[in-house]
């Protein structure tokens, strides 16, 4: 593709409708190591959008910054720089408790570990009612009860009346994670932040929850930001995919395009490493190396040390995201230069 056609674009949204969630230049640095500490770049200059009724997957290794990104959107951390817009309004500007509760009701989180995320001394019903009390305070007790039951039915935990009275330890891992989804769902969310929601579950259970996400997205028009290290499950549920490496977005685009024609060498590495029973026998990865620690990284591509196609410029200039095809961008001097 000639250079002139490659515009430096970041988002791949249709311009007709404002995106549900818009993240612009989001950065989070942590201080590590006390007084003479240094800076860990957990997320650097990340920009992405999530539209209404869309599942966007964020994939990367541990330490890539994908969970920090979700936590920034959930307002668990305060960003070092950058802006998060939800329905066109700034999330970072939210100050009052009322606005915060309303926001978290619209953008709830589902956590990785269903054994730790549900309070083990309370029944499932309590956790659901408590969430409703906080985030949908206008409901009457009877409406709360109905909303809690409806949420449990929607995630396949029926009969709901019976499951409301159960303690987390009475449920299996898969059922617990469904209860976690029910908690999010009962708040009538617009966007669910799902941080590795299936990685602790058994393989045969996982697919059921991924199908649930896809169904909620298709039928209830709920968007998901699906954080995962499993690129195969990302393909299964997401319409668009964002690949993160060492705190940076290195590639993003329509899921099928990115998987079929991965532009960034890291995406190619990830794809070659997936354990897949259906993989053709020829596919084999070479030496894989280790992901870097992102403490004061300086200029240059962070994938440099592991990159099989690096050039001299890669060590000096941090590559920006550039469009390689319609709605498909990568940050690489060599393949998207």
């Amino acid at each position: 593709m000639p250079l002139a056609e490659r515009k430096s674009v970041v988002c791949c949204t249709k311009m007709t409708e404002p995106p549900l969630l818009q993240i612009i230049g989001l950065t989070k640095h942590f201080r590590v190591g006390g007084v003479f500490g240094r800076t860990l770049h957990a997320v650097d200059d990340a920009s992405l959008t999530v539209n209404a009724g869309e599942i966007v997957a964020v994939v990367g290794e541990s330490g890539s910054g994908k969970s920090t990104l979700a936590r920034l959107v959930a307002k668990v951390f305060k960003p070092t720089a950058g802006e998060i817009l939800f329905e066109g309004r700034s999330v970072t500007a939210i100050r009052s408790r009322r606005d915060l509760l309303a926001y978290r009701g619209k953008v709830p989180m589902v956590f990785q570990d269903p054994f730790a995320s549900l309070n083990s001394v309370h029944k499932i019903g309590y956790s659901l009612r408590r969430g409703l009390q906080l985030h949908r305070a206008s409901l009457s007790p009877a409406e709360r009860e109905a909303a809690a039951q409806a949420a449990l039915e929607a995630v396949g935990l029926s009969p709901a009346e019976k499951n409301l009275e159960k303690y987390p330890h009475e449920l299996s891992g898969g059922q617990r994670q469904r209860a976690g989804f029910a908690q999010a769902l009962s708040l009538q969310p617009k966007l669910v932040l799902a941080d590795e929601p299936v990685s602790m579950l058994d393989v045969s259970i996982r697919i059921g929850l991924l199908n649930l996400m896809a169904r909620l997205c298709a039928e209830e028009k709920i968007s998901f930001l699906y954080i995962t290290h499993d690129i195969a499950s990302a393909r299964y549920v997401s319409q668009r995919i964002v690949v993160m490496y060492a705190g940076k977005i290195v590639e993003m685009g329509v899921t099928e395009d990115v998987l079929r024609r991965p532009a960034h060498p890291y995406t190619r590495l990830l794809l070659s490493a997936v354990p897949d029973p259906k993989a053709p026998l020829g596919v084999d990865a070479g030496e894989m190396g280790e992901p870097p620690l992102v403490i004061e990284p300086g200029e240059g591509c962070r994938f440099l040390r592991r990159c099989p196609i690096a050039l001299g410029v890669c060590g000096r200039v941090t590559p920006a995201l550039r469009e390689v095809a319609a709605g498909h961008a990568a940050a690489c001097h060599v393949t998207a230069g």
């Binding site: 891992g173 697919i207 199908n211 794809l271 997936v274 354990p275 029973p277 259906k278 280790e290």
Partner: protein
Amino acid sequence: MSDAILEVSGLRVEYRTAGGTALAVDDVSFSLARGEFLGIVGESGCGKSTLLFAIAQLLAPPAAVTAGTVTFMGKNIAALNASALRAVRWRDFAVVMQSAMNALNPVKTVAAQFADAMRAHGVGSVSEITSRSREVLALVGIDSAHLKSFPHQLSGGMRQRVMIAMALLLSPELIVMDEPTSALDVVAQRSLMVQIRELQKRLGFAVIFVTHDMSLVGRFSDRLAVMYAGTVVEIGPTREIFETPRHPYTQGLLDSFPSIYGPKVKLAGIPGAPPNLADLPAGCRFEMRCSKALKTCRDAVPELHAVGGTQVRCVLYEND
């Protein structure tokens, strides 16, 4: 079989608790040839780790072997006393645990831990210890400078490599591994698997590799045993099981992996959950979740039937 280094036969392990007796491993039999790579796959609670602990004689109460034998290099190791066992363990077979962070001593350097293991097994000379330590670290691709490192100074992948190096110290005939890669992400996981396979081919030890992720061992193991609710439901050559899975559970398991290849297809997974091991049904333990269940499935636990190169515990193959 004369070249078998390990024979497990009719093994049964129970957890006896106040709440009842849970049958974690029920009538498991298999043999392992010298230099063979056997994958054991199954979901959490299927008894795969208990089986591995029983083979390594690491079970602690309330778990106990209540029937069957484990014959390792001609000796029934279930009958060995503690000191006889100590001589065999690590010298002839070693164990690599799931979490290297918990298995390594956080306040000792890698070198000190290697030296401990060798001294405990009669290697006294300092020069021998040092040279062997360097050698095994080199085998797993870690610079010998890391002998002076503490576990927290190593990455997750390196720690698992150190664990494998430690298992190799005394050149054992068998290494049993309990999900050694489950704490790693896909890229580190893949490179560790490649390395284990290369080492195994080069040094000729046998491997029993326990994992919940069937796709992981697909291209590395010679044979595969699929466990469900304490029993082996299918065992045979890995390629054959992947190409023609016969037990409905194996089929369901393979259909639960979304693929990055080929057209996108909707998957169903396996509905339901495994049975309670303390309250097992009289018949086939997979019957409740099985799409192909017959009436007779509820009557008795099916036998293992030989089909092709595999053995399948399912009545569908009774007359094959």
